[in-house]
């Protein structure tokens, strides 16, 4: 096995240490990508979870780099602004910002995914006042035509703000080109998810690859994804297939634990991954097209998807992958997730699919209690 390095965030993880490899494919480090993009004359936008229009930012020369916490945010700056009952993604985001983690970016975008991210946007705008311009984006909570129309208007409003910030006005043609490139990246991301069991990757490696979409330019991601897809010649993986649901698989040691216990992730319903496999839009109006893509994405409670749609989605994932169980891996205090859990688990139980809930703080290591629960779960599903 070659010593391939897969680099994420501002630290390195040796894939061979994680028990997997991504043969010959180098995924650049987040900081390297940012540096290189800036050297090429581009700017960088830090984007908080979950849904947002990547191509709109790219059309203005901003590379979107996502901030899911991060888990190892330094300092306790977040605690100086939000109460302990606010989720660790928001708390860590504030700490990361306060400790200079976002000094290298030129713009902040806070999509409205939940009450906590709403609060984050409001605190940034009204009290913290970062040196970078801060934009907010309201995401409608339905799948109606009026939701698409509103979101298109909201994206037009952001376009006008970006015109002032960037001092340029990308044409409709330029915007459409960015959208099409982004759609191609998402098509390949979906393909990676579909082919995941044929790839020579363990879970940790797969998610490092898939999550590089969080910071790589679409064209670079396409290149890497195509390289990875060319390696797809396996015929499945040994062990008990499971579906992972939740917001974000942090700490990523989770995957190591799942593998050690004889399981693997056959599909996911994660906010950072599977719920963002955006379909291509159909409208020739760029704003409507971007809106369609987000509104018609897979079910997600933060976009207001009905529980029934989520049940159907989970069951279809389970059928397609023959998953033996579902792990709900939740960030503590995440209301959008916690509300749906009892009914989702009940529906899975009725379909004969066992499930497990683990609640974590993304800043903590996996607790012994969580590992014990995981072990018991995998013993049960064999």
């Amino acid at each position: 096995m070659r010593d391939t390095r897969i680099c994420m965030r501002s630290f390195e993880i040796r894939t061979d240490e994680m028990g997997g490899s991504l043969e010959g494919i180098e995924i650049p480090r987040r900081m390297e990508v940012i540096r290189e993009y800036r050297q090429g004359g581009g700017s960088v936008a830090a984007v908080f979870p979950i849904h947002y229009p990547r191509p709109l930012l790219r059309a203005f020369g901003f590379l979107p780099v996502e901030v899911w916490g991060p888990p190892r945010a330094g300092g306790n700056w977040g605690e100086a602004h939000v109460q302990p009952y606010v989720c660790s993604i928001v708390r860590n985001a504030l700490s990361f910002l306060g400790s200079g983690g976002l000094d290298a970016v030129d713009l902040l975008l806070v999509p409205h995914a939940c009450d906590s991210l709403q609060g984050l946007g409001s605190i940034l705008l009204d009290f913290v006042s970062p040196r970078q311009p801060t934009l907010t984006l309201y995401l409608p909570r339905g799948g109606r035509e009026s939701d698409v129309a509103f979101l298109a208007d909201e994206l037009r409003a952001i376009y006008r703000r970006l015109e002032v910030i960037a001092g340029r006005s990308p044409s409709e043609k330029e915007l459409m080109a960015c959208i099409r490139r982004d759609e191609e990246a998402d098509r390949l991301l979906s393909e990676l998810h579909r082919q995941r069991l044929r790839l020579p990757l363990n879970d940790a490696s797969f998610y490092r690859l898939a999550r590089s979409r969080e910071y790589l330019p679409a064209e670079k991601f396409c290149h890497i994804a195509q390289e990875a897809l060319a390696l797809a010649d396996g015929d499945g993986r040994p062990g008990a297939p499971i579906i992972l649901s939740g917001i974000v698989p942090e700490p990523m040691r989770l995957f190591e634990a799942i593998e050690q216990m004889g399981g693997f992730t056959a599909a996911d319903d994660l906010a950072c991954c599977g719920r963002r496999l955006y379909p291509a839009g159909s409208s020739q109006d760029p704003f409507r097209r971007m809106a369609q893509r987000i509104v018609h994405a897979p079910p997600d409670p933060t976009r207001g998807s009905p529980i029934g749609e989520r049940v159907e989605h989970l069951l279809s994932l389970a059928r397609a992958t023959q998953a033996r169980g579902v792990i709900f891996y939740e960030v503590k205090f995440c209301e959008p997730e916690l509300f749906d859990l009892p009914l989702l688990r009940q529906a899975l139980r009725q379909a004969g699919i066992p499930s497990l809930t683990l609640e974590v703080d993304i800043g903590d290591e996996l607790s012994q209690a969580a590992l014990t629960l995981l072990a018991a779960f995998f013993e049960m599903i064999g």
Partner: protein, 441 residues
């Protein structure tokens, strides 16, 4: 409705029920006049109008119990635009108000345990757990809640209501209508108002279909007019607390706000608040203060702690402290002028996108600062409510700014609006004592 149903409704609600409730009110009024029930040394007795409030609330739930004999039932969030439902003759139930009622009656632990037993996390909003617990178990201190024919969730108070109502929709198999109100970080955008208006129009279509009747414009205007009148009266009443000594406290306001929340658009609600205003003015004329020896005046931010209203009123009252203003009670009056009776749909869109909970944390700070001036306040208690993140997030910065920019003491008090298990009495008392020392200093 069948003739038998009509008869059964009239008998239970209008003949027996109303009669019994009126008799109970008259007895309570007589007892209140004699003053024999009132023990507190530091607080004025409750308003004479209090038995009327109780009668209104009891009658509201009594009508709910038999509502299906006469009309359709809608469950709605507290900030939802209900005028069109009232105009379509729906019986409108507010699960949050029912939750608050359960809080004051101290039955939340039992109901929340039902929800928690079914898998709902204790980290979820305690109103939601109370309501889901009541729905799952059928338990309620009001006898019986009618099943909804329609659910209406408006996100202008939080996103929580959407998740909560999706659970209710699944449980009851009732259609859920969403009115999604984009959060106002800095200013209201025209496309946001249009989005809300479009959704109200869509909601009306669904509500008409469920009700089996069409909305009449004249009736909608009338309901909007009554809503506006009640909200204006409510604002006038709470603004009377600028007077020193304050005639009522926020603890009175928390109780007396029930009709303006759950009985908007009704003539009897307007009559009720007109009577309340007269009584408040009488108190002012007679120099009656809600705290007998009012020395300090405070602002309350966030929802009440429903199960400890009396405790807090007395604890502070003993020190001559009156909490005279609240961002929460103010919210039900401040938008009165936005209610447009001539163009009710546009008016509803503009009104319902703009409550305090749908505006930025900086806007709330500005509101607090203006209330501090207007009500001549000496300090602020910010209830850090673990069940209400949208109200609570930003409070740490708000407190710091109040201390720094207004130079007045501000206390962040950790609790939960409905779940008594999150209330540490010893800790609260220590924090209040330290705060009172700061106020005295």
């Amino acid at each position: 409705m069948s003739a038998a149903g009509w008869l059964w409704y009239q008998c239970n609600v209008n003949l027996l029920g109303r009669g019994a409730l009126r008799a109970r009110r008259l007895l309570a009024e007589r007892r209140a006049k004699s003053g024999s029930d009132w023990q507190s040394q530091c607080l004025a007795p409750p308003l004479n109008i209090s038995p009327w409030t109780k009668e209104l609330i009891a009658r509201h739930y009594l009508e709910g119990r038999y509502a299906h004999l006469r009309r359709k039932v809608a469950w709605v969030t507290s900030g939802a635009p209900i005028e069109f439902l009232k105009a379509l003759d729906y019986y409108v139930l507010y699960p949050e108000n029912h939750g608050a009622l359960c809080g004051t009656m101290r039955v939340v632990e039992d109901l929340a345990a039902e929800a928690e037993g079914a898998g709902y996390s204790r980290d979820l909003c305690s109103y939601a757990r109370t309501d889901i617990g009541a729905a799952l178990s059928g338990k309620t201190p009001v006898g019986k809640l009618p099943r909804p024919d329609l659910l209406l969730a408006c996100t202008n108070i939080c996103q929580t209501v959407l998740f909560w109502y999706r659970v209710l929709a699944r449980h009851f198999g009732a259609p859920l209508v969403l009115i999604d109100t984009p959060f106002v970080y800095t200013r209201v955008e025209p496309h946001s108002v249009q989005f809300v208006k479009r959704q109200i129009e869509e909601a009306i279509e669904i509500a008409e279909k469920v009700a089996g009747r069409s909305l009449r414009a004249a009736r909608l205007e009338q309901v909007a007019y009554l809503s506006r009148q009640a909200a204006q009266l409510w604002l006038t009443i709470i603004e009377r607390c600028q007077h020193r000594p304050a005639p009522i406290s926020v603890f009175d306001q928390f109780i007396q706000m029930a009709p303006v929340v759950e009985m908007r658009g009704e003539a009897y609600t307007v009559d009720f608040y007109a009577a309340m205003l007269r009584e408040v003015d009488e108190r002012i004329a007679r120099g009656v203060g809600v705290v007998k020896n009012e020395r300090k005046r405070l602002l309350w931010d966030n929802l009440p702690i429903w199960y400890r209203l009396r405790y807090l009123a007395e604890y502070l009252g003993r020190h001559g402290i009156a909490i005279v203003a609240s961002t929460y009670t103010h919210a039900w009056g401040e938008l009165a002028d936005l209610i447009d009776t001539q163009d009710p749909l546009e008016g509803m869109a503009r009104t319902y996108i703009y409550p305090i909970l749908n505006r930025g944390a900086g806007d709330k700070l500005a509101k607090m600062k203006s209330m501090i001036e207007k009500y001549h306040l000496d300090g602020v208690i910010l209830h850090s409510d673990r069940s209400c993140k949208p109200y609570s997030m930003g409070q740490i910065d708000q407190r710091d700014r109040l201390l720094r920019e207004c130079k007045i003491p501000a206390l962040l008090l950790e609790a939960d609006h409905n779940d008594p298990r999150a209330f540490a009495e010893g800790q609260v008392a220590s924090r209040l004592d330290a705060f009172i020392e700061m106020l005295e200093g």
